[in-house]
Structures are given as C-alpha cells and as structure tokens.
C-alpha cells in the first residue's frame, strides 16, 4: 500500500513537472478546456436561475371554475361541497357574482358593464391544488368541466407548463452542448498526451529496459490528463464566476422592470466541485484513450 502510494505520488510529481515544464502550453490547454467547459456550465447555471425565478414569479398556479350564469344556488352549493371533499385540493375561494362585479368596479372597468340591466358575471371558485404538477392540473380540469352547473374551467398553469417545456428544452440543449464540448476536451487531452508520449519516447523506452511495468509508464500520463482537465475546470469556474459578476446587475434590473426580484447566483460548492471533477474525469478519459492508442503499441 505504501509502495502504491509512493508510486502514485511520484507519478503526480512527474505530471506536475511536465505541466510546469511547458507553462505556455499548459496555460493554453487549460484555457481551451476552460472556455469549452464554461459554455455548458454557464448554460446549466442560467437554467437553474431561470427555474428559481419562475418559481418565485408564478407562486402557486390556480384553477378558476366559472358557474353558468343561470346556475341555481343549489348547484353552486353542490360544487362547493364536492370541492370541500376533494383531497387533491389545498384550498379554494368562492367569488360570488356580486363580489366579482365589485372587484371589476374597483379595477376601474365598472363602466363597461354600466349599461347592462343585470350583472352578467357568473359565480366562480378559485382553486389551489396541492400539487403543482401540470398533469394534476389537467386531470382536475377534466373532472371539474363535467360537473353540473359548471360553464367554464380556466387553468392559469398553462404558461407554467410552457415554461417547464422551455426549461426541459434548455436542459437538453445544455446536455448536448456538454456532451459535444466534453468530447472536445477528451480530444484535446488525447492529442496533448499523444505529443507527450512522442516527446517522452526515450524515457519510456529506457524505463522499459530497466523493468518498468505498464502501469508505471501509464500513471504519469493519466495524472497529467486529469490535472490538465482539473486546471481547465478551474478556468471554466473562473469564467462562469466572472460572467455572473458582469451580468448580475443588468439581470436584476431587467427582473425589476417585470416586477420581480432576482439575483443571478453563481455555482454553489457542490456544482463547482462537480464541474471540476467532471473536467478532471474527462481529462483522465482522454489520456486513457491516448495511452491505450499510442503506448500499448510500443510495448516491447
């Protein structure tokens, strides 16, 4: 175990020396990897922010059930009784036709109805379901619409559903972007390790002659790829943080213009660790493929 740790420590030291031995190349590789990774990382962060903003703006979506204008008080009472007994509802509020008219007058639109002989507005119930799942809303809508005396059921969850669909699309785009740019990272590392193997050819051959095993030869390259990926991940994090600092104020101003309070949040500790670990993993993968492709064929 001690020997295993010693060999890994030696491999890490060698990988660091190789990284430090070509500072410009290391910096450029880290920048390439970092810029490539910052795009999906920023996309993920943006979606996360939009999702939390949407949650804050929408509050809890509601369903409005409008009774037919000619419905009887008995029918209204029957609907209320069924709502009271419904376990899927968090609550409901009855808005009588008279109250609806008063609300309309308070909003300044009372004149619109001033010329009519009678109040044309219907009795209504404003319902809050327990779940905010769009599927639950649709099921409730289908149920309410069949009740006697109900003329119309209006979902105000439609836009939430559209937003969820947009977020799902955004997540798919980010995933695709992450896959493509992750592949780019693997290719960059693959090529870097290929060049490393070419420049270290003499050392590799000498080490083999002196009894070096395959893992001994491969280990520094694995660490090199992983460390290069890790550096790229740190660059990506720095880019994302810088973007958050630059875009935070204008984003908050835009949100305020729409009556919302919004603060663009940077990646948390868990997300940051995940980005760096993901980058290191891709670096390791690129180096593993390269070592397999370029080193195994040189075994003697």
């Amino acid at each position: 175990m001690t020997q295993w740790l010693y060999l890994h420590a030696r491999a890490i030291a060698l990988a660091l020396r190789r990284l430090g031995g070509q500072p410009v190349g290391t910096l450029l590789s880290a920048l390439v990897v970092g810029i490539a990774l910052s795009l999906p990382a920023a996309g993920y962060l943006l979606l996360d922010n939009v999702a939390s903003l949407a949650r804050g703006v929408s509050g809890t979506p509601e369903i409005s059930v409008f009774m037919a204008p000619q419905s009887s008080p008995a029918e209204v009472a029957a609907v209320e009784k069924r709502l009271r007994a419904d376990g899927e509802l968090a609550g409901y509020r009855y808005v009588s036709r008279d109250e609806a008219l008063r609300q309309l007058e308070r909003s300044g639109l009372g004149d619109v109805l001033g010329g009519l002989a009678a109040n044309p507005l219907p009795d209504a119930f404003v319902i809050t379901p327990r779940s905010d799942d769009p599927a639950v809303y649709n099921a409730l809508h289908a149920r309410f619409v069949d009740w006697p005396g109900v003329a119309h059921v209006q979902l105000d969850s439609a836009w939430v559903e559209r937003l969820h669909a947009l977020l799902r699309l955004g997540q798919a785009v980010v995933l695709l972007l992450a896959g493509l740019l992750g592949l780019a990272l693997v290719i960059v590392t693959f090529n870097t390790i290929r060049l490393q193997i070419l420049t270290q050819r003499h050392e590799i051959d000498v080490s083999r002659l002196l009894g070096a095993t395959d893992p001994f030869i491969r280990r520094p390259f694995y660490w090199f790829g992983s460390l290069q990926g890790l550096l790229g991940g740190l660059v990506a994090l720095a880019i994302v943080w810088a973007a958050v600092q630059v875009l935070g104020v204008p984003a908050a101003q835009l949100a305020r213009a729409y009556g919302a309070v919004f603060t663009l949040a940077g990646p948390g500790v868990r997300d940051s660790a995940a980005i760096v670990a993901f980058a290191a993993l891709l670096g390791w993968l690129g180096s593993a493929i390269s070592v397999r492709r370029h080193l195994v064929e040189r075994l003697t």
């Binding site: 000498v206 080490s207 009894g211």
Partner: protein, 220 residues
C-alpha cells in the same frame, strides 16, 4: 544461469541474426562475446533481456524460459538483470543521480534507501561527488560509468553489456573493462560483447565467438 538451446532469430524481412546457437553460462562467470559486426552479438543479448523473442529454440535465465514469458512478466525479468547498452541511453534532462535512481524508483524502493544505494553505485564507478551534474556535461567514459552505475544499483545477479567500450578511447575503455572485472570478482555473472577482447584478457574470461549468427568458437 543463462542457457541458449538451438536459438534461432529471424527478423521480419528474412534476415537471420542467430541460426541455432546453444551454450550455457554458469553463475559467477565472466564471459566475453566477440565477433564481427552483424555476427549477432547484440541480438543474443537482447534475447536474454526479452527485448527480442527467439523465432525458435529456448532462452533460459535462472531456469526461467525467457522466450515464453508473458508480457506482464518481462519487467520483473529485467529487474533481475543489469543492462548496459552500447549507447548509454541516459535521460539527458535528469541529473546523474536521478539517472542512477531510476531503476530504484521503478521498483518502488523507499526514497531514503534508494538514495543511499544510488550514492554507493556512483562511488563504485568512481563518480562520487558528481551526482548533481547533468549527463551531457560528462565525457563519454563518464556517461558510460553512469550507465553502469544505473545497471548495478539494483544489485543484479547478472550484468549484460553490449559493447560498453565501443565509443571510448583506450584509457576510458580500460577503466570500464576493469569495472566489469571487479563486479565479476564480487560474484556477479558478467556477459560482455566487445570487439576488443584484449581489454578483458587480464581477467581470463571465457570467450564465445559468433560468426554469421552461429557460435564459431569457444574458449575458457
């Protein structure tokens, strides 16, 4: 200790470097392998270190059939050998000390013990105090001594050298030959290929002479 049984080595393209060579070398022997260029000396040494595989026949080292070794076992075979090649094959970006340390690093020796051994090996070849120098700053003879120190640092029971004096002047060559003689005197089996047998004559080595891939002469 080293046994060749009807060993044939044919390279791709049809060139036959060894054509049925058989001999045995016992423990503690000093053997000088001679012959003209292209006689098969280097190939013979490479077969012992499993750098090449025989096309036919068997090569045994300490009872182990080298020609049938699995790829994974080859590094462990090489660790039991001290190998000095015609070109020193030193790492020019590492110090003399780091070059000599390399076999010990490969075998995962504890650093402190490895450093002691490397210092002792360098002292043995007369390079004490030159540890921090870089190989390219040394003469050809000194570089060859570093290669020898690297070969003996693992305390091998067999030392194989492929024309270690080929590029050295007479004075340096004599020093290197004397070094091999001293290792042999310490009980190490030494097999050296050379064009200049006279260098080792004082140690009264056993001679194997190769010609056109065959053993054409042998004398104790």
């Amino acid at each position: 200790m080293i046994v060749f049984e009807e060993v044939v080595k044919r390279y791709p393209g049809g060139y036959t470097a060894l054509a049925g060579v058989s001999f045995e070398i016992g423990q503690g022997e000093l053997v000088v392998l001679s012959g003209h260029s292209g006689a098969g000396k280097s190939t013979l040494l490479k077969l012992i270190a499993a750098i090449e595989r025989p096309s036919a026949g068997a090569v045994r080292l300490n009872g182990q059939d080298v020609s049938r070794l699995r790829h994974r076992a080859i590094p462990y075979l090489r660790r039991s050998l001290g190998l000095v090649l015609q070109e020193c094959r030193l790492l020019t970006d590492r110090s003399v000390f780091d070059n000599v340390m390399l076999p010990l690093v490969i075998t995962g020796h504890p650093p402190r013990d490895a450093a002691k051994r490397a210092a002792a090996a360098l002292e043995r070849v007369g390079l004490a105090g030159r540890e921090r120098e870089m190989p390219l700053g040394l003469s050809g003879g000194e570089q060859q001594r570093v290669a020898i120190a690297r070969a003996i640092v693992n305390r091998p029971s067999v030392l194989i050298a492929d024309e270690p004096t080929a590029h050295l002047d007479a004075a340096y060559a004599g020093e290197i030959a004397a070094l091999f003689g001293s290792f042999n005197a310490a009980g190490v089996t030494v097999l050296v290929s050379t064009h200049d047998e006279a260098l080792f004559a004082a140690r009264r080595p056993r001679r194997l002479v190769l010609g056109k891939g065959q053993l054409v002469g042998e004398a104790a």
